[in-house]
Amino acid sequence: MALLEVSDLSVVFARRGQREVRAVDGVTFSVDSGEVVGLVGESGCGKSVTSLAVMGLLPKRGVRVSGQAVFDGMDLLRLDARAMRDVRGQDIAMIFQDPLTSLNPVVPIGVQVTEVLTRHRGLKGDAAAKEAAELLDRVGIPDPRRRLKEYPHQLSGGMRQRALIAMAVACRPRLLIADEPTTALDVTIQAQILELLKDLVRESGTALIMITHDLGVVAGMCDTINVLYAGKVVETAGRRDLFARPRHPYTVGLLGSIPRLDTVRGERLTPIRGSVRDVLPWAEGCAFAPRCDRRVDDCLNGPPDLVPVNGRGHEHRCVNPVPPEAVPTREQVEEMV
């Protein structure tokens, strides 16, 4: 039994007088201690809603959450608000994309960090301040004692994100959810933050769920990767399998869409047709079918199931997957150019 097992998670947004939106549609994945699991996809694929549902941060009204999210034997989706508050921050913590909007602008950094320590670890006064300074130091903020008295606007973007990470790891959580933690940052700062997250996983055996749209980031960080499209996992694999032998046309399309820094400069990219708006409801068939070059008649016969590829957990949700030999290896690409 893994640390967190999410099974058949669905989230439906239903507002009176409006069409229901099924943002997450039967997502299943698990993450264990010391493991990094990636949820990858484009905007609107449901990757953030998945994490909000697990954290119990979705509004109660107008949202229907079903399925299970079992963390250490308890189903997070069925905990009451009080019990959930004890879990949040203590056992599971989250890092958001934009550090300026997730920090309180009128409260000093120190107060925001010690708040967590007081709430969950009962630390007060000097002990809390000392621990907070140590946390800031650990995430690489210079001169931490002084930083504690400063406000978020006095720190740079990278330092704010570090402060947020310090708050998240304050109680040594067993699971950390990072939702696009580096999207708002420059590449050199992104590299620093990713290195910091890797160290945290390595040193304290934290389980990490990494939510991102950047396939480059997951290639360097994640042990297992789930590719989401329109609320469903369309491909899941270990990182080596996913990048060397992607099978779902969407994954292949994503990889073909990004210019790469390490290969010979080619002529044209191979984009995916249309846009994320052109989706089919899963009930009618594969949601990706309207944009897919490999579409066959079978694609429109209800939602395709996840098909196992090998014994190592590589699965895809496609009736006409890309044959493994169709994706050129690195060496072949270099020869072609």
């Binding site: 484009e42 905007s43 000093p108 120190g110 107060v111 010690t114 006064g125 907070a132 690489g140 210079p142 001169d143 004692r145 002084r146 008295k149 606007h153 006095q154 720190l155 740079s156 973007g157 990278g158 330092m159 420059d186 590449v187 050199t188 700062i189 992104q190 590299a191 620093q192 990713l194 290195e195 749209h213 950047d214 480059g216 980031v217 997951v218 290639a219 360097g220 990182r239 080596r240 990048f243 994503l254 990889l255 073909g256 869409s257 990004i258 210019p259 790469r260 820094l261 390490d262 400069r265 080619g266 044209r268 990219l269 191979t270 984009p271 995916i272 846009s275 994320v276 708006r277 690195r330």
Partner: protein, 367 residues
Amino acid sequence: MSAASETLVEVRDLKVHFPITRGVLFDRVVGHVKAVDGVDLKIPRGKTYGLVGESGCGKSTLGRALLQLTPVTEGTVTFDGTELTTLRGEALRAMRRRMQMIFQDPLSSLDPRQNVESILVEGLAAHGIGGDRAERRKLIGETLDAVGLPRWALSRYPHEFSGGQRQRIGIARALVVGPELIVADEPVSALDVSIQAQVINLLQELQDSLHLTYLVIAHDLAVVRHISDIVGVMYLGALVEEASSDDLYREPLHPYTKALMSAVPVPDPDVEDRRERILLAGDLPSPANPPSGCRFHTRCPWAQPTRCAQERPALREVGETGHRVACHWAEEIAAGRIRPHEVRVELVRPEGDVDVPVLPVDSVALP
């Protein structure tokens, strides 16, 4: 970058300084943000010049100053033989027909209350292109075809389109007046990955068919490398390195370029595991108070005790391929005679915080 190619745009010693003012009733100037501080570059006709750098390095300001959308403090911009910095009024307006801009966020750069036809007609009318309605319709129709938008788009409003289509409208708006130079400021960074590729390909196709010259400004090195012929790397208001796209990525000479390239994640686990990362310490220093000498010396793992902190390196040519670099020690670093060392992190204040009063450490008690 062949020597024979004709230069369309030449920028010489361009400086753009923004005053920092303080005061309640009377603004007094307390300093300057040196957004662009001495840039020389040439853009050959029909080629793409890519400008990369992190936020706050002045790349967008440079692009805007080139089009005279931001007042130039010092230096010259020559467009096809015409000096732009001294042009005023009607003469400058007429030149704008030949140089257009594509913005990052298509939703905020398009008027939500104008339909696509009105957006496109506006440029034509302003420059008196296409005499009657029928001729303008024809021009607009051709532009829509070129950017891959359907004719029914004309009567729709920007909010009715997806992000990628909106960026196509932005491109059509720039193209309809028939420009020679297009400055594209982060043209794809607001778009989803699969849509980015569509827009990048579109920009390349348009360049081939219309012989456009591009200045592409972006923070994504992989994108810039993919579409550019020449790449310039900016750091704190100045170019630190410039070379043909292939040269730059094969052999980056400036320490900052090396660090930047090693920081870009590559979607390949094997590469990610093998590659060596040069992690830069700390943040970009404030452009209001840039470091002395080489601006990068505060974060440079190769910084030397002599020269780096005192003498500002000039952008000089290294080798015969037109590879230019602004580093005193580029050759020594390339030959491995200087080894990287640890860098102590210096705290950097975000912009606008020039003189934040810092309270004595013991005067504030934490609750």
